[in-house]
Each structure stands twice: as structure tokens, then as C-alpha cells.
Symmetry: C2
Subunit: 333 residues, 2 copies
């Protein structure tokens, strides 16, 4: 905390304020990713967990609990739960997407094999489940069970929707709610629930997490067509090359001429791509103002997130959560 607050990213400020709790979460994660019998489990998990993800989701749980004056100890369990669920989904996603890089390192499916990624993911999901049962809160279990179902449903939906030009903004919203927002929302909500916060606060936390997650994913999808690989850790056009239909393209397809539609059908649905196609896609996105409209959509959700916080008690943590929503969209401003 030696840096001036104003110059630090909101995420780092939250990290600073919550550092003792984050250390407890990290210690719990290390303990619970162990396996007496199967050393492959901590090997694979450590590879991913120690690659230095931002721990954004567990931090949301800790922040929500602290904001609602929770004294502990179960917010630590819930934060570790949320990180385990996230890690399990990353392991499975990388198999499904046949990815070879994650957080700047080779993926587990590449270093070990798909089998290990599938089964270790299952193990982490079971471990997350044990952790949340220890809190003794049926309401928390209910929230996380629903989030788990929404995540998996969104992933399956994406399988069929991603390369289909009929995918509209409503379906896109369902997909990214599953992919990203459901766990953000649950991470925030359970922090309030475990603290015994009033219903208005719990609802506000959920709305904040949901909107933050949606904004976060829209920005991620936008950067795929306009960010630098430095900012995102991935290359421009990855989604395009995979034929993955995201919001910028959905907006351009909605406004497309017949000829343009033929182009999108070829490159996205048939994945028949040649040199220059990405550049042409970027031209079409610009022609129909799709990038800017997508940017506005991300900002709109960030504002929904910030507005939701207003019913919560005034607190430096509340301000950091608000700044976090601004920061998510600042990447594209």
C-alpha cells in the first residue's frame, strides 16, 4: 500500500485492503487441492492456480462479506469455493476449445493430457462442493448450485450458438451470463448471504456481480477485435479464427447487406477463411459502427453495476467496487 491510491488499479487496492483474507484463501486452496492418493491432482491444479490469475472472483466474495460487516470465518471457504469452480471450468474449457495457452503458459491439456484436465476439473468441482457444505448455509449452497448449472448450460449453449449466424443478442447474453456473469454474481451474493446482510444488500450485490461480469465479458469480446495482445494476453482475431460469434459480429451481421451476410456465413459458419478475411471483417465492423455500439453496451452494463452499489453502506470497499466497474470498461475507452 505504498503507492498513492489514485494511481493504483482498483483491483490492486482491493487486494491491499483484503490481503490478510486473500492469504487465508490461498492457504486454503493449497490445502484443499492436495490429494493423498493421486499426486497428478495437485500437479495439474498448481500449474493453473499458481500461474497468477487475478483472483478476481474470490476477491469479490471477500469484498462483499467485508462490506456487509462479516467477521468470518466462512467467507474464506466461499472465496476458495469460487476459485475452485472457476479453475475447474478453465480446465474443461481448455479441453473443449482445444486451447494451448492460458495465462501465458501452456495449458494443462497440452502439458499432461485431456484426460487429466477433465478428471482434475471434476475433482476441483467436488472439492468446491465440500468447501461450501462446511459453511453450513443451505442458502449459499442453493446459490452456488444454481450458478454451477447456469455455467454448464451456458457452455453447452455456446457449443451450438457460437458458429450460428442466427445467434442474436439475447442468446449471446445467455451465453456470457453462463460463461462469466453467473459466477461473478454468485461470488458477490454469497458474500452478502454469509454475512447475514439485509435482502436489499444481497440483491444489490448479486446485480452488481451479474452486470460486472457481463460488462467484463463484452469488453473481452470487443478487445478480440481491437485490443492489443499486450492488454488481453491473446491475439487479435482469435475468436474470429475460431468462428466464435460474439457481440461485435452479431451487431454487424444484424446490419449486413446480402453480400456481407454471405461473407459472415463463409468465415463464421463454414470457417472457410483466407488471407485478408480478418481485415475485411474489421472493415465491416467499422462500417456498421459495431465496435462503438458494443463499447456502449459494455459501458451500459458497467453503469448498472455501479448503480446497484448505491443501496449498500458507504465504505471504501464500496468505492473500490465501483471503480472496478469503471476500470473494466476503461480498457476500451
Amino acid at each position: 500500500m505504498s503507492l498513492d491510491n489514485a494511481t493504483q488499479k482498483p483491483h490492486d487496492r482491493l487486494s491491499g485492503v483484503l490481503s490478510a483474507e486473500m492469504e487465508a484463501v490461498n492457504a486454503l486452496i493449497r490445502t484443499r487441492m492436495a490429494s493423498e492418493h493421486a499426486p497428478r491432482i495437485p500437479e495439474v491444479t498448481a500449474h493453473l492456480v499458481e500461474a497468477g490469475g487475478k483472483r478476481l472472483r474470490p476477491m469479490l466474495t471477500l469484498a462483499a462479506a467485508r462490506l456487509c460487516d462479516y467477521a468470518g470465518p466462512f467467507h474464506i471457504h466461499l472465496a476458495a469455493t469460487v476459485e475452485f469452480i472457476h479453475t475447474a471450468t478453465l480446465l474443461h474449457d481448455d479441453v473443449v476449445d482445444e486451447s494451448d495457452r492460458r495465462r501465458g503458459r501452456p495449458t494443462a491439456n497440452l502439458l499432461w493430457d485431456n484426460k487429466s484436465s477433465i478428471l482434475v476439473g471434476d475433482y476441483l468441482f467436488a472439492r468446491s462442493f465440500q468447501l461450501m457444505v462446511e459453511t453450513g448455509s443451505l442458502r449459499v449452497l442453493d446459490i452456488l448450485a444454481d450458478a454451477s448449472a447456469t455455467i454448464a448450460e451456458g457452455e453447452v449453449l455456446q457449443l451450438t450458438a457460437a458458429q450460428n449466424l442466427a445467434t442474436d443478442e439475447e442468446i449471446y447474453l445467455q451465453v456470457i451470463r453462463g460463461k462469466t456473469a453467473a459466477l461473478f454474481a454468485a461470488a458477490c451474493e454469497v458474500g452478502g448471504v454469509i454475512a447475514g446482510a439485509p435482502e436489499t444488500s444481497v440483491e444489490a450485490l448479486r446485480t452488481y456481480g451479474d452486470a460486472l461480469g457481463i460488462s467484463f465479458q463484452i469488453v473481452d469480446d470487443l478487445l478480440d477485435y481491437g485490443g492489443s495482445s499486450e492488454a488481453t494476453g491473446k491475439n487479435i482475431g482469435d475468436d474470429f479464427r475460431e468462428g466464435k460469434l460474439t457481440l461485435p459480429v452479431i451487431k454487424a451481421v444484424a446490419a449486413a447487406s446480402d453480400e456481407e451476410r454471405g461473407f459472415w456465413a463463409r468465415v463464421i459458419e463454414k470457417r472457410d477463411q483466407k488471407d485478408g478475411d480478418l481485415e475485411h471483417a474489421l472493415t465491416l465492423l467499422a462500417r456498421h459502427d459495431a465496435m462503438d455500439q458494443t463499447r456502449q453496451e459494455a459501458v451500459r452494463w458497467a453503469n448498472i453495476a455501479k448503480n446497484a452499489l448505491e443501496v449498500l453502506p458507504a465504505d471504501p470497499i464500496r468505492d473500490m467496487l465501483s471503480d472496478l466497474a469503471d476500470y473494466v470498461v476503461a480498457r476500451i475507452s
Copy 2:
């Protein structure tokens, strides 16, 4: 129930006695495998669920609950939970094992793809979790969370242990506990717990399920070297061809000469197999009495299962559970 009791298989007698509850379980499974947004989910699930598995695990839950005088309704939820967990693990197993047949039909990973099997498995696991939360019993959640972790840990252990001649009977037992016995044990135990049965009964049900599951898996592994494909639905030597180390081979390896050990190292560890190897393996199993010793081990566990039942109230269902343990090993007698 028109057949004479004595001529019916114990499994079919249980089915008859529990038919109303099993119908309720099937109806619940159909409702909960639906997905509003992703039709791929019920398609894949129906393919497997409606292929006519024996529904042995949910039946154990219903039988245990009935034996402990439970009036309902949550044994139905728990039975559906157990079947969903089982179905999820089958979907993932078939991807991991690259299987192409299951229950006499092409596997989901063959008909659709690995992605669908992975993600629909995740969805069913999340659905099972929602179902068990609805029972409101933290103890039940605790048991099923532990079982889920044991299952996944056993699967990972099998990845590294299966093709390793250093795998001994203790590791084998851990693997089959994860693969099979953990869910049998939990299925029985939660039936007693939801009924509020005394601790001695709950413990007995757990022991019964664990021992029945172990016996069941040993028999399955034995039949792979000696059953007909009619009895098992799979071909003799499948495990051998996959280099999967199971109890008969573990026993033969323990008693092997140096030359025999070299054979096992080649065919199991290196999976370097040629014509006549399976026949030679069968000769070695016979030479060291490995088949008969394995058979005795299966019978020993079946007897542990039967003995555990003695503390439970005398009841026709108790007798059927006892007969079920006999029936499991009758396949190899």
C-alpha cells in the same frame, strides 16, 4: 410381480417392490435433465438415461430409505441425484477412455463429440447438486460431496496406476472405491440419513453399499478375463488390450517369475501386444491361481455386505439386498 419370487433376480424383485418410487424418480430425472436454452443437454442425457441402465444406484437409495421406514418425499430427489452423478461420470469416463460403446449403443462422445459429453456431464453434476440441496439436509450434502471427491480422485488415480506394474492391491482397492464403491456407499447411506435412521443403521447401510460396490467391480474386472460377452456386454480382454491393470493381473504379477514379469511389462506398461498375448495372459492367470483368488476376494466382499445388513430390521427388502450381494457374485460362480 406375476413371476415366482424365487425365480426372479433380486434386482427385479426390488424393482417390483419399489416400482411406484422408481417411476417418480424417472419422472424427476426427465424433468431435471431439461434445459430451457440448450436442447443439446436433454438430447445427450436422454441417449444415455433411456438406454435402459439397471438404475441400480437409485434403487439402493430407495431401498435403504424404505427399509428405514421413510415416508418421503426426498428419497426420490436423492435417488435422482445419485443417477445424475452416475450419468455424469459415465459421460466423462467415455471421453477419458475413448469408448465407442455403452449399454449396447454408440457413446455420446461418438454420436455428438467430446465437448458435448464433457459439458453435459458438468451440467448433470450441477443438476444433481441442485437436487440434493432441495432436501435441506446438510448431512446428506456432506456425504455426497465426499463421495464426489472420492469418485474423481479414484479416476485420476486410475490414470496413473492403471498401466503401472507397481500398482498393488491397496491402490487397486482405492481405485475401485472411487470408481464404483463410493457412489454405492453414498447411495445407501443417504437413504438411511434422510429417513432419520439410528447411527448403527446408517453405518450398516454405508458398509453394505461400500462392500457391494467393491464386490461388483471385482466381478466386473474378473469377467473381463473370463466372462462371456453375453454376460458383461463387453468383450473378453478389453481391459487387457487397454493395458488396464486389474485384480487378476495384479495377483499374477505378484507371483510372477522374472520372465513372466517381462511379459506383463511389455503388454501392460508398454502396451506392446501381439497375437496370442491374451491367450498367454490367461495361461499365466491360471498358473498362479489368480482367477480363483480374485473370485474369493469378490465373495469375501459380498459376505461383508451381507453381514452388515444384520443390524437392520428384518424386512423383505433387507432380504432382497442380501440376495443382491449373492447375485453379484453368482455371475462368477
